[in-house]
């Protein structure tokens, strides 16, 4: 089996403000999804979420407040899953809660150095 990086992207500006209860329900949805992958023994690394602010360093020491200065969607987190093919990895991503919230998942095979 190969490792695939799942990159979660969404438009942070368009993210709905959530009540604590909604946030808890959201956490549960993520845990159910990732737990389901782990139950298939196909989780390599649950990954992490990313903070919503950051910097983008360009050539010539040009620093921009990022990460969403140039594109609308920014990366909010990542996980690494195991699958035989790109199609299988995509299948695993299908229930990712980010899709229901208007975001997307990019599936990329990890090419080991």
């Amino acid at each position: 089996m190969k490792d695939f990086l799942l990159i979660f992207r969404t438009d942070i500006a368009a993210m709905p403000k959530r009540s604590p209860e909604e946030m808890q329900a959201n956490t549960k949805r993520w845990m159910d999804w990732i737990g389901g992958i782990a139950a298939q023994n196909k989780l390599t690394d649950r990954g992490n979420r990313l903070m919503l602010t950051g910097k983008v360093l360009n050539p010539g020491n040009v620093i921009a407040d990022g990460p969403y200065s140039e594109i609308k969607e920014s990366i909010i987190g990542y996980s690494i899953v195991k699958a035989n093919t790109e199609e299988e990895a995509t299948e695993l991503a299908k229930d990712c809660p980010i899709l229901a919230a208007g975001g997307n998942v990019e599936i990329r095979e990890i090419s080991v150095l």
């Binding site: 845990m31 159910d32 782990a38 139950a39 298939q40 023994n41 649950r46």
Partner: protein, 423 residues
């Protein structure tokens, strides 16, 4: 509140002697092993076995002495001194190693004080659970050296023959000698490095008793209680009283609270949902809660914490969605720490209880553990009353995959239920 040891003793319907034998065997063997060193643990075992043989002969004739433990200590001391007198060469060798004793064998101090007993037992725990031996060898050694189990009993617990166990123990002891493992009080660094391995062995020892396919119920219960005693011994030591150890003990208490309700009078397995909750041991549940609270200090979250949490929710009698939702989330976390087929299957069962059977069937089929009888039992259970034909097909698959008679009886009952026309 009664101590855990009192609770454990009250769970044992067995007489005083077997219990005394187990705990005292461990104490005296540990002290002698520590005195003699790793090269001579068999001599220590022989001396203690002789002592207990004499005790069972004499006590059977004359009744129990006033203080049985003290009697055992005196006899063991005398037998050790006799042995040292008869084997002066051995005595000289060990006294060279023991710096705090004088040179003559007669003056070797056999220290059976409470402090030395405790120190020796802990030192032996760390030797027995040394990662140079494979886990199953560690469990065997623990049963043999720390719990006084004979080769027969260990073979019966592992469902194998005596020769296999005998060889396994010999090899494990040889390995300890080759690696020159010292029987000594572990340092703080060693405790931090090796406590996880010790906890793992105790966890496996408990599971061996709790989940073993062995028909010998008394023996299985004994294994669980011994694992609890040894874990309790760790917690009693200030340095070893760590959150993970408390979580492990909590888990053991919660599980064993259901020991009696898991089997019916015919010795058949009673599934969790069919158990008589009145037979759950409330005292052990309370102990489990106490140790779980103790375990919540600090910021470590071990798999024992999560498993204890799951076991805690199982002690709640009301069958609510909230209960199963909590169990589901704990299984999600557990699977992120460590995958195991059993956790994957149990998670799916919790999903069915917290959400719907249909949702759980989709997830179960993704797990795809087709060679596991529990996988088919779970799918059979989930398909019941949704699609009985599929349920029966899965139960039949489970039947062909299990070797345990208890499992087969249970599965056949389920098939009968599926075949009954709906009234």
């Amino acid at each position: 509140m009664r101590t855990l040891q009192v609770t454990i003793s009250s769970m044992e319907q067995t007489a005083l002697i077997p219990h005394l034998f187990r705990t005292e065997y461990r104490k005296i063997v540990s002290v002698l092993c520590k005195l003699f060193g790793i090269d001579h643990i068999e001599i220590a075992e022989d001396i203690v076995s002789d002592t207990f043989l004499l005790a069972s002969e004499l006590w059977g004739l004359k009744g129990l002495p006033e203080n049985p433990a003290a009697w055992l200590y005196t006899v063991a001391k005398n037998k050790t001194k006799d042995y040292l007198k008869r084997n002066t060469l051995f005595a000289q060798n060990i006294s060279k190693e023991i710096k705090y004793t004088t040179t003559t064998s007669e003056e070797i101090e056999i220290d059976l004080s409470v402090k030395n007993i405790n120190d020796s037992q802990l030192a032996m725990m760390f030797v027995v659970c040394h990662p140079c031996n494979a886990p199953e060898a560690q469990i065997g050694l623990a049963l043999n050296l720390l719990c006084g189990f004979g080769v027969d009993e260990i073979a019966s617990a592992f469902l194998t023959n005596k020769t296999v166990i005998y060889k396994r123990l010999q090899r494990a002891k040889e390995k300890l000698r080759i690696e020159k493992i010292k029987i000594e009080q572990p340092t703080t660094t060693e405790i931090n490095d090796r406590l996880p391995a010790v906890l793992m062995t105790l966890y496996l020892l408990f599971n061996e008793g709790y989940y073993s396919a062995s028909q010998d119920i008394t023996l299985r219960k004994d294994l669980c209680l011994e694992a609890m005693r040894l874990t309790y011994m760790l917690i009693e030591n200030e340095q070893l009283n760590k959150p993970a150890a408390n979580a492990l003990l909590s888990l053991m208490c919660f599980h064993s609270s259901r020991f009696d309700s898991r089997l019916n009078q015919q010795g058949e397995i009673v599934l969790y949902q069919d158990q008589d909750t009145a037979r759950w041991n409330q005292e052990l549940i309370e102990k489990g809660e106490y140790f779980l609270n103790q375990a919540s200090e600090g910021d470590t979250l071990s798999k024992y914490h999560l498993e204890a949490g799951i076991a805690y929710w199982h002690t709640i009698k009301a069958d609510t969605v909230n209960k199963w939702e909590n169990i589901l989330q704990l299984y999600n976390h557990l699977l992120l720490i460590e995958y195991s087929p059993i956790a994957a299957l149990n998670r799916t069962y919790a999903l069915a209880k917290a959400r719907t059977k249909k949702e759980a069937i989709i997830e179960a089929e993704k797990i795809n553990l087709t060679g596991n009888h529990l996988y088919h039992s779970l799918l059979g259970e989930l398909y019941m009353s949704i699609d009985n034909t599929k349920a029966i097909a899965h139960f039949n698959n489970a039947l062909t995959l299990t070797h345990s008679t208890a499992d087969k009886t249970l599965i056949n009952k389920k098939i009968q239920l599926c075949e009954q026309p709906i009234k």
